[in-house]
Subunit: 129 residues, 2 copies
DNA sequence: TTCATTTAGTAAACATGTTAATTACAAAAG
DNA sequence: CTTTTGTAATTAACATGTTTACTAAATGAA
């Protein structure tokens, strides 16, 4: 098991759930469509993830008063706690990966992946690193 | 749907099934553990994939006479047909991706991904491109 | 206004990802 | 020889990936 997943397994959440919580923690309340884009998830996957995060009380949702199709998702205090308690370790693990490759080559890799991601029909994403 | 998956959807197989067939077509008969490594799949996933490919008659399996724990998987004529009829398109689509990025930068990307893949705890693989 | 179209989100169905447990067999240790 | 340890593959359980279909609501044009 990867070190990141091992850390999250202790908390009882998955990598994808962690990404959703981080997006909400950093970007504030937003609608699912935007969460999906930021976290590199398809909407059907996100639907299930949000259901589970809501059951656990890690997020809260309510309909958008202006557009009743939309909803607004925000991180709950419990969810913010999870982020606060693990963000340091997460960043350290990510830095370790970057250092193993070297800062310059790491940036090159992210650039190439993002360029591929910006074109149609390509599945690569910088988040895969 | 990505162009590769679109092509395979016409044939009725998935990307992973396609990878397994290609590995067997190029590398000849081999045991599941080696297939998994070549196709970047975990054994539990491969177990299910082989079951489906066998049901459709695209592969054939028999136990290894020397080591009864192992089995030997080989591509069936029907499976080889699938490869033969689609390999050209597959290669052309892959070349298109390489050309969009440029040959040199494409090689750089593969090198960086393979270097990451060679280290523990990193999930990136060149096959993701 | 009315109807066609688009957008946001969900549901369903099937395939794979991922981890833990299990079976069967092989190999090494005692 | 037999007990232990390791290996190959499968199974189970749960989460996500992926496509298609569907509902509800907003938009836009006639």
């Amino acid at each position: 098991m990867g070190p990141i997943r091992a850390m999250l397994a202790d908390v009882g959440i998955t990598e994808q759930q962690w990404r959703v919580l981080r997006v909400l923690d950093e970007g504030g309340a937003m609608e699912p469509t935007r969460i999906a884009e930021e976290a590199c998830l398809l909407l059907p996957s996100l639907t299930r993830i949000l259901q589970k995060l809501e059951e656990r009380g890690l997020i809260a949702r309510h309909r958008d008063p202006g557009d009743k199709r939309k909803q607004i998702v925000e991180i709950a205090p419990t969810g913010a706690e999870v982020i606060a308690r693990n963000l340091g370790t997460s960043v350290a693990l990510n830095d370790a990966v970057r250092d193993r490759l070297g800062a310059e080559r790491y940036e090159t890799l992210l650039d190439l992946l993002n360029e591929l991601a910006s074109k149609d029909g390509v599945a690569a994403r910088a988040q895969d690193v």
